[in-house]
């Protein structure tokens, strides 16, 4: 699907034999033949089937739960509710990506006292078959006292808004407000003298933007099976982005030692951040403890929409000032993001990303994390950055137009680079935004005229941090010269292969000679979640170090064979050498049993991030003035990958992220009625892009190596979702003369905007 994918090579670039090639993915055959085991595929002897009962109300007090009729139904094995959960008030746990309030985490899995959104899990049953479980669920009598609900972020911030929690206060750098509030956090950044900065500006533009909640839309609904064994050990087979994070969340919620919980990660049908939190797992464990059987729980698509984390809806106001020669001098941003039903949304990264592409000497950012009656938000590819970029990149486009400067040139004039101080404080190291913008400016797309009525071209930039965190790996050398790699990163985007390739490069063998395995939590060292675009960077670093460990041990074996000092053995291109003698990795592998036994390499790493991923997108659209429909004619995504380990996967990430950003921009939204009920909780009514809606997404990979990784890897998965909404809004403006400032820019909304401007028929 990629039209242009030639990495911008430099003459001093290292020459690799494996990195930069496109081997067939190791898990490909199982996936295309249907043999891969996903969580819902699992069947165990004596397995029971669970069903979760969910709230029909957006906000209500739970007066009573009566299981008697359900328990009287033949075939029902167990029931559970929050009454079976330990009291976790005021307990916190560090789950790798930050500290989590366990009471809130538990109450999101099974409601405590109140339901806070439609679809909130309240109780569950287990039975001998899915059908009996479904019937039993209908017999559970739950009495509610409905309460007023609020689903728009600015409404939830009002003093008279329905209050979700009486124990949530506004926290601002460790200080709590006097009264409970739906606003759970205030973030404030400031650098320079903002007032003085705006006084220096020749042009100032201030605009407001709104975005709807959208879902990650992974094709595989959540599913898990849990077994509370007679010896008290718990095993969970699940679809998760982080088996160790899942283990810790379940252990903390149920007050079990982590060593009593084993999480077996199944293949995963997409996650995009949405499969980092747990939902079903503790419920299945509680049911299994009660009935003594393994219990499987699966979600329907409606359950997924109504009961799991979307990304925040948002309100963002951005004000930027520039001099007439096109230099940004001041910026101000005010962001309010949904947290959903419980505190802890994406406002932090939203505030950090809003001006992350630019050098702005005087800037101020205020952000608010706001609880309201929607599902608890979850990470979604570059969480918080897309909403912020929609606002900032739209104002940047307006400034460029007002100043009569080419929009890419304007961005280049102000692009963040090495030494730029971010508004949140830190200074960038070597980054690749300038190279990305230059590649966009030089692209065939940008230099091809776009003609025709109702057509326009837009451009936008985007940023995501890309994080480090902990990874473990080990590998054993087989007698046939292959290597079995064991890692703990669940594979949601081809990382088995991108990690295996780094081990292969280090050992001088073919990628196909490494067999990567994703292990359960008892079979590999601690590894943080697959998220934050970290796996190819951090677990790849672990694989590199495993390779060095194996090389060291193999060199000792070669020295034994040659009766020389191991320090005299060199390793080049998969061959060990000393004083005119040589032996290949494969030849030496065959001699391990005779030279001391197995060779096993291991590594555990905790690299510091961020690695800084920048992208720029160009899009051509045609707008139908009669319907408001936006048709994408051409789309090009440009991104700095650091080093593209497997270019096809990099292109795939760029294309996938772009398409999700297009859906967010043009069609997707949680549609709530006046009772706070989501009315489009199916793929029939929640409109995601299909292959018929988008053209081929062209890709241009830029490679500015990350100096903090031996192969220059930066991570690529999240940045590409950031620019699309702004790029499309800017393209729609060029096509119609009308600026859209609310997502989605769906046909009715575009048509209404054209009509208001007197431009529709």
């Amino acid at each position: 699907m990629t039209a242009s994918a030639k990495p911008a090579a430099s003459s001093s670039a290292p020459q690799y034999k494996v990195l930069g090639t496109r081997p067939i993915r190791h898990d490909g055959t199982d996936k295309v033949t249907g043999r891969a085991i996903y969580a819902a595929d699992l069947h165990l002897p004596g397995m029971a089937y669970g069903r979760v009962i969910r709230s029909p109300h957006a906000h209500a007090r739970i007066r009573s739960i009566d299981f008697s009729a359900a328990l009287a139904l033949p075939g029902v094995l167990a029931v559970t509710s929050a009454a079976d959960m330990p009291d976790l008030k005021n307990k916190f746990a560090d789950l790798g990506e930050g500290r989590v309030n366990l009471a809130h985490l538990g109450a999101n899995c099974l409601a405590q006292g109140k339901v806070l959104y439609r679809g909130h899990a309240v109780a569950a049953v287990a039975a001998v078959s899915p059908h009996v479980a479904e019937e039993a669920a209908k017999l559970v009598r739950i009495e509610y006292e409905p309460l007023p609900a609020v689903t728009w972020v600015l409404d939830a911030m009002k003093p008279n808004a329905p209050l979700l929690h009486d124990d949530v206060f506004t926290e601002s750098m460790g200080q709590l407000s006097d009264k409970p509030s739906n606003v759970s956090r205030h973030i404030h950044f400031e650098q320079g003298d903002v007032q003085r900065g705006f006084a220096q500006a020749d042009v100032v533009i201030e605009r407001e933007y709104r975005t709807a909640s959208v879902h990650q839309g992974y094709i595989e609904p959540h599913a898990c099976t849990a077994l509370w064994n007679q010896d008290g050990h718990v095993t969970i087979w699940t679809a998760t982005q982080g088996s160790f994070s899942c283990r810790q969340q379940v252990a903390e919620l149920l007050e079990l030692p982590v060593s009593r919980v084993t999480v077996v990660p199944c293949e995963i049908g997409g996650g995009f951040g949405g499969k980092i939190p747990i939902y079903l797992e503790p419920v299945a464990v509680l049911l299994s403890r009660k009935c003594g059987r393994p219990v499987k729980l699966t979600m329907t698509r409606s359950d997924v929409f109504e009961g799991t984390g979307p990304t925040p809806g948002s309100f963002v106001r951005v004000k930027l000032g520039a001099t007439r020669d096109g230099k940004l001098v001041a910026g101000e941003a005010w962001l309010a993001y949904d947290a959903g039903a419980f505190p802890g949304g994406m406002i932090g990264p939203g505030c950090m990303c809003v001006f992350s592409c630019y050098e702005i000497p005087h800037a101020r950012v205020d952000g608010y994390d706001v609880c309201l009656n929607k599902p608890k938000t979850a990470a979604y590819r570059a969480p918080g950055a897309t909403q912020a970029a929609f606002a900032c990149e739209s104002v940047i486009d307006e400034l460029a137009e007002r100043l009569n400067i080419d929009p890419i040139e304007f961005r280049l004039k102000n692009a963040a680079k090495e030494g730029t101080r971010r508004v949140d404080g830190p200074v960038y190291p070597r980054i690749g935004l300038v190279e990305v913008l230059e590649a966009a400016r030089a692209s065939e797309h940008w230099n091809t005229p776009l003609a025709g009525p109702w057509r326009g071209r837009g451009v936008a930039a985007g940023y995501w941090f890309n994080i480090g965190l902990k990874s473990s790996a080990s590998a054993s050398v087989n007698a046939d010269g292959t290597v079995t790699l064991v890692e703990g990163s669940t594979d949601i985007g081809g990382t088995r292969t991108s990690v295996a390739m780094q081990l292969a490069e280090t050992l001088g063998i073919a990628a196909e000679d490494v067999r990567p395995q994703v292990a359960d939590t008892d079979s590999v060292g601690y590894t943080d979640v697959t998220g934050g675009s970290r796996v190819t960077f951090a677990t790849g670093l672990a694989a590199y170090q495993v390779g060095l460990d194996i090389r060291r041990q193999m060199a000792e074996r070669a020295a034994l064979l040659w009766e020389c000092d191991p320090a005299l053995v060199r390793f080049e291109d998969g061959v060990f050498r000393t004083d005119g003698r040589s032996i290949t990795f494969k030849e030496l592998a065959a001699k391990l049993h005779a030279t001391g036994g197995p060779v096993v390499g291991r590594a555990a790493v905790d690299p510091e991030g961020p690695t800084h991923g920048f992208g720029a997108h160009i899009v051509d659209v045609e707008v139908d003035p009669d319907t408001g429909k936006v048709t994408i004619l051409r789309y090009t995504a440009v991104q700095d990958a650091g080093k593209a380990v497997h270019p096809s996967y990099v292109e795939g990430q760029m294309q996938g992220g772009t398409v999700q950003g297009i859906g967010w921009a043009l069609n997707e939204e949680y549609w709530f009625d006046d009772r706070g009920q989501m009315r489009n909780a199916s793929f029939l009514d929640y409109r995601m892009p299909t292959a018929l809606d988008v053209p081929m997404i062209e890709t241009i990979i830029v490679e500015v190596p990350n100096p903090d990784h031996p192969y220059g890897v930066r991570g690529v998965g999240e940045t590409p979702i950031v620019p699309p909404p702004a790029a499309l809004a800017n393209a729609i403006y060029r096509a119609t003369g009308v600026r859209l400032r609310e997502l989605p820019m769906s046909p009715p909304r575009v048509w209404a905007a054209l009509a208001a401007a007197g431009k529709s028929s």
Binding site: M173, I187, H188, G273, I347, P426, L469, D606, P610
Partner: protein, 87 residues
């Protein structure tokens, strides 16, 4: 000495001071020095001998996962920023 940037939301507690030079070799020592100079900062950057919930520390542009134990060099630049994850 390390250069420590005071988060904007706390500058009203530091008489408007935006950054200070601090003699410290760990983040714990950095915070202790800040708290000694401005007692009103107690409880704002760390709670129960851990970084405050939702907070991360950036040292020379890199976010450390070691919290209060993170090492600080004599020329380091230290920032307290929101914790970030990813999808």
């Amino acid at each position: 000495m390390a250069t420590v940037y005071i988060p904007a939301a706390l500058r009203e507690l530091t008489e408007g001071v935006e950054c200070v030079k601090v003699e410290a070799s760990t983040v714990r020592q950095v915070i202790a020095a800040l708290e000694a100079r401005w007692p009103a900062l107690q409880g704002r950057l760390r709670q129960q001998d851990e970084l405050a919930a939702g907070l991360a520390v950036s040292i020379d542009g890199a976010i450390s996962s070691r919290g209060l134990l993170a090492r600080v060099g004599p020329e380091s630049e230290v920032h307290f920023i929101p914790a970030i994850g990813g999808g």
